[in-house]
């Protein structure tokens, strides 16, 4: 092995740069083997002198413990640069292998301002070109709603965001996280409570943004035919009749609706309706095409087909669109379509991650790289500590009120049984895949089970706890008992309800009281959902009884409850 000899010779001479140059020229796995064959101090000395590019390539081939130590042998800034240079797939594999405690620490070291958010690559112009001016730019926009008792509930924390030309940007987030609100602020439909949205550098309110929106519910006018629907925005721009018809037919052709011009929307299937929605949006040749969960109302196969056709239009540049901004709760959809993914956190919403996906289109659902991205997003979504501990929490600031995920207790029980049958531990996206459930439907159940300490979930994995196992194996009566215990131990709202009711001599309170309490922390709609979930759990756990007729809660009393609850509901 002449190279190994040369290496030894250079090492003996102490020519670190020479060695580094040599390593940099080797294939990464070979260089890794060579590197590991020398003593640890030498390894670190060598790794430090490698150029960032080479260091990233080589580190990616090493076992995580070696890579972790070597990465830390470089100064913090350099370490970040090295990690940033790693191929996304390799990077994800590396993170995946780290034990949880280390991972957490490491993420923090990679730290602000980029955060784990930018483990991939900061969204800037590729290849060092000067940055392209964004079409839409949001500066510190936020949204809050007035509470009934005065004061404000913030639903979207200050967000900076720009939509650059040439990209498909996907905004991912759990339901109720404010995705749609953000989309409406960016498209000029709703003004932000604070901050500013700019259209080509001008304030949105002064300009006439040329955008199109595709809605989840299609939002077609049922009394107009397909072609009349597509003509609506053209008519609004004063396009005369003949040209209008001509342009509308052309767009209809491009989305595969030739021959359906005279049909009414209700005669069409869901997929066809969404094509009309797309055609209507494309008719005005918008610069930015907003899509608000465009495929959610469709069945799996239709959605898949439409996604493919959308990509075809986009890649063949058949659409005169600069960028697409897609709101979705479907992780695979985001990874399949987007060049840039934003992940939104909840209550209040803020951008938790913002990364590029550089895999070439069309993407393969089953490629390892694809799966790694999907897994990565799952990790982000199931790691609440990432958003719950922003570094700049002012001392004395109120910690956020515990938010109940909206899962019904029957679904929680079913999930625990399934998890137990699968050996007690699994990858979340595999569970979701098996159940054919959207992550959006599954996550609240997992979060609820975790809150009740029935499972532990971390980084996309979920594992059943002893309590969870006991619950899954118990009979109806014992289950109720176990649920009662864990609910009172873990759920703030139920604790508060329980102690408030117990302290009253008649053991009764108006529900309004708790509604007011929750409205200090949540919007009106969210408050209702919190109450609904709490009642669902609290009634099942035998903590309380609810009488809808007079909107009253009482402490559960086994001796009377059977009659009165039947009458009350």
């Amino acid at each position: 092995m002449p190279r190994a000899d040369k290496l030894r010779e250079l090492l003996a001479r102490g020519d670190w740069d020479g060695v580094a140059a040599l390593l940099g020229n080797l294939d990464a796995p070979v260089a890794g083997d060579v590197l590991l064959s020398v003593p640890p101090e030498t390894q670190q000395r060598l790794f430090r002198s490698l150029p960032v590019e080479a260091a990233a390539r080589i580190a990616a081939t090493l076992p995580y413990y070696d890579a972790y130590v070597l990465l830390h042998s470089r100064p913090l800034e350099e370490m970040r640069a090295v990690v940033d240079r790693m191929e996304i797939g390799e990077q994800l594999r590396f993170f995946d292998e780290l034990p949880e405690a280390l991972w957490q620490q490491f993420m923090e070291e990679l730290g602000e301002p980029r955060g784990v958010a930018r483990v991939a690559e900061a969204p800037s112009a590729p290849g060092g070109l000067p940055p392209v001016p964004p079409v839409i730019e949001a500066r510190q926009i936020e949204k809050s709603y007035g509470r009934t008792g005065g004061g404000q509930v913030q639903v979207i924390a200050p967000v900076n965001l720009s939509i650059e030309p040439g990209l498909i940007i996907a905004l991912l987030g759990p339901s109720g996280s404010g995705k749609s609100t953000l989309l409406r602020m960016l498209s000029g439909l709703a003004p932000p409570s604070k901050g500013e949205v700019r259209w080509h550098g001008e304030p949105m309110s002064d300009s006439r943004p040329n955008v199109g929106i595709v809605f989840q519910s299609f939002a077609l006018f049922p009394w107009l035919t397909v072609v009349e629907n597509v003509e609506v925005p053209l008519l609004a721009r004063g396009v005369p009749r003949r040209e209008r018809r001509h342009r509308a037919s052309r767009v209809l052709d491009s989305v595969g609706l030739t021959g359906f011009a005279g049909a009414y929307p209700k005669e069409l299937s869901g997929g066809m309706k969404q094509r009309v929605g797309l055609a209507r949006a494309l008719a005005v040749e918008p610069e930015v095409l907003f899509m608000d969960e465009p495929f959610s109302a469709l069945d799996v196969l239709t959605a898949e087909n439409l996604r493919g056709e959308l990509m075809e239009l986009w890649l063949d540049r058949k659409m005169p669109i600069a960028s697409i901004f897609l709101v979705t709760h479907n992780i695979e959809e985001a990874v399949l379509l987007a060049d840039r993914v934003l992940v939104l956190g909840r209550n209040p919403a803020k951008i938790r991650a913002d990364f590029r996906i550089k895999t070439k289109h069309p993407r393969d659902h089953n490629s390892p790289e694809f799966l790694l991205y999907v897994d990565y997003v799952y990790k982000l979504l199931t790691q609440p500590s990432l958003e719950a501990r922003p570094p700049s929490i002012a001392p004395g600031a109120k910690p956020p009120y515990q938010m109940l995920p909206h899962a019904r207790r029957g679904a929680i029980a079913g999930f625990l049984e399934l998890l137990k049958d699968r050996g007690g531990k699994d990858d979340l996206y595999r569970v979701a895949d098996e159940l054919r459930m959207e992550v959006d439907d599954l996550l609240p159940i997992v979060e609820a089970a975790a809150l009740l300490s029935f499972v532990k979930s971390a980084r996309g994995d979920v594992a059943i706890t002893a309590a969870g196992k006991a619950f899954a194996e118990a009979d109806i009566h014992d289950r109720k008992h176990l649920f009662h215990e864990t609910a009172l131990a873990n759920i703030t709202l139920l604790q508060q309800m329980n102690s408030a009711l117990a302290s009253k001599s008649d053991h009764a309170m108006p529900l309004e009281f708790f509604r007011d309490l929750l409205q200090q922390h949540f919007s009106e709609k969210e408050t209702e959902r919190q109450i609904e979930t709490a009642l669902n759990w609290g009634r099942y756990a035998g903590i309380l009884t609810y009488y809808p007729a007079d909107d009253r809660l009482t402490l559960y009393d086994a001796s009377v409850s059977a009659d009165s609850e039947a009458e009350g509901s």
Partner: protein, 538 residues
């Protein structure tokens, strides 16, 4: 017709009782209804549009609408007629305009309310689509707001026109002080026939009345309902859609479609393009400044008018004597009891009958349209005939008024109950069979709760109708004699006869207050209960 309108007021125009005159009278009556409806439609769109788009105006306009809806229209009859005859003292057109104005006030409010709430309830995403593509206000009205309101408007128009017949029959022939005002029409024909005791003429008149109603139903309402199907806001095509041969005929007529293409089409196109361009060029903003001043001036004028009206009302009330107030008070109590008794009597026969029919789909298919026709024959047209019978039997208006009120109100109950009973799901009926519930148990556990929401809807309509009808049912001039019984309606009618405007005003306000109060205290609560606890969700 023009010559007739411009002619002098006929204090005693002769109503020709020969059947050959009926088509002419029917035409006159239909013309009045049609004109009043056209005005109602225009007012509805303007009023509802402003109320739905201007939050400040909305705060005044909607409570006002709510109040106007509960004012008994028939007590407007004397002041409106006096004003109109005063405006055109020597012309028949004054009386005609008065009757049209009355019908208009009777039918406009529920139409307005329907359009207003439709516009307010347009789904968010449709609104957003309109906004993001920057539709002009005109295009939004034409392509979004009116189509979305169409179905509710059509149903409410049908109800309004039926109500219009009710008032028309009452105001085609009435006495104002010493003047006996008559308008040639079906209503005056029937009254004259009953007055003369001419049975043959009565039968002819009734036949003509029913023929007109059936014809209107077939030629106007069926086609309109079938046409309005396309405005149904549903994403899936309905399994069963209403059809109308007349509509098919109109749709396939080349002449009509050509006429549409050369007249309506280009006009609409030109207008829409015009508004699109105004919007694009930003001229709308300048004009909205002017519009703001106009709106302010209008609002100020409206407020002044209202203050003036209230002041006049208070002054008018002050003029009423103590005895007048006592009369109003006693009358209100009597009419209240009478109305509740009528509702009870109506419920007693319609609940079993309605449920019986509703549970048998084949029978319901026959009975439903018959009940609809029966309900749309205005009770006021039947009053003289019923009275004639009562007088021959020797009964007074005490019982007579109850029969008359029953005539007007029972139908609402009946077809609501039929609809409710036929909506009870089969599996619930089967549960009752499986567990062998006896008759009483079945009524208590399934049938009554099942029809409850429909029953309440029927009661609300029937109750309001009964109060209004009491004005004509409790006091009647017939054969030169005056029949009356104790009641608020009688107080109103008598005050009209005597020209005692203070009592008339007091009684009218009292009736409005009672109707609103009963609605708020009883029906709304029951309605809320019906729509939460007793809703059968499928």
């Amino acid at each position: 017709m023009t010559r007739y309108w411009a002619g002098p007021v006929g204090t005693q125009p002769d109503i020709d009782l020969s059947p050959a005159a009926l088509p002419k009278y029917a035409l006159f009556s239909v013309a009045r209804i049609a004109i009043a409806y056209a005005i109602s439609l225009a007012v509805t769109v303007v009023y509802a549009y402003i109320a739905a788009h201007n939050a400040r105006a909305e705060r005044v306009m909607i409570p006002l609408l709510d109040t106007l809806q509960s004012i008994p229209v028939l007590s407007f009859l004397p002041p409106v007629m006096v004003a109109m005859v005063g405006l055109f003292p020597a012309r028949q057109v004054g009386v005609e305009l008065g009757s049209i104005l009355l019908i208009f006030t009777g039918q406009v409010w529920n139409m307005t309310f329907s359009v207003y709430s439709s516009i307010k309830n347009i789904p968010r995403e449709l609104r957003e689509a309109a906004e993001v593509y920057r539709l002009s206000w005109w295009q939004q009205l034409l392509q979004l707001e009116l189509p979305y309101s169409a179905i509710g408007l059509v149903w409410n128009s049908m109800m309004s026109v039926a109500g219009g017949w009710f008032f028309l029959m009452a105001c085609e022939m009435f006495v104002l002080g010493n003047r006996d005002l008559r308008l040639p029409g079906l209503g005056s024909y029937l009254q004259t026939a009953a007055n003369a005791g001419d049975t043959r003429a009565i039968v002819w008149g009734l036949a003509a009345m029913i023929a007109v109603i059936v014809l209107l139903d077939q030629l106007i309402w069926r086609p309109v309902i079938a046409w309005s199907e396309k405005f149904k806001f549903e994403q899936v095509e309905a399994f069963h859609t209403p059809r109308s041969p007349v509509l098919d005929l109109v749709r396939h007529s080349r002449l009509l479609s050509l006429a549409g293409r050369v007249s309506v089409g280009p006009a609409r196109e030109a207008l829409t393009l015009h508004f699109a361009k105004t919007r694009a060029s930003g001229r709308a903003r300048i004009r909205s400044g002017l519009a703001k001043w106009v709106a302010r001036a209008l609002a100020a004028a409206g407020a002044a008018a209202m203050v003036y009206a209230v002041a006049r009302m208070v002054m008018g009330l002050g003029a009423a004597s103590r005895a007048g107030f006592a009369e109003i008070f006693v009358g209100a109590g009597a009419t209240f009891l009478r109305v509740e008794l009528v509702l009870l009597l109506a419920a007693l026969w319609t609940i079993p009958a309605g449920v019986y029919i509703g549970l048998r789909p084949r029978l319901a298919a026959i009975a439903q349209p018959v009940a609809q026709i029966a309900a749309s024959v205005p009770a006021t047209a039947l009053f003289p005939i019923v009275l004639l019978g009562l007088i021959r039997l020797g009964g007074g208006l005490g019982i007579g008024s109850i029969v008359l009120l029953l005539l007007g109100t029972q139908w609402y109950l009946l077809f609501n109950i039929i609809a409710g009973a036929s909506a009870i799901p089969t599996d619930l009926k089967e549960v009752c069979d499986v567990y062998r519930l006896n008759r009483a148990g079945r009524w208590r556990k399934l049938l009554l709760p099942g029809i409850f929401p429909f029953l309440i809807t029927g009661f609300v309509t029937a109750s309001g109708g009964a109060w209004n009808a009491s004005i004509v049912a409790e006091y009647f001039r017939f054969h030169g004699r005056t029949f009356s019984t104790t009641g608020l309606g009688a107080v109103i009618s008598r005050a009209t006869d005597r020209g005692d405007f203070a009592v008339l005003l007091g009684a009218t306000v009292t009736m409005a207050v009672v109707v609103v109060t009963v609605n708020r205290l009883v029906w709304r609560r029951l309605y809320a209960l019906a729509s939460t606890r007793f809703r059968l969700e499928v």
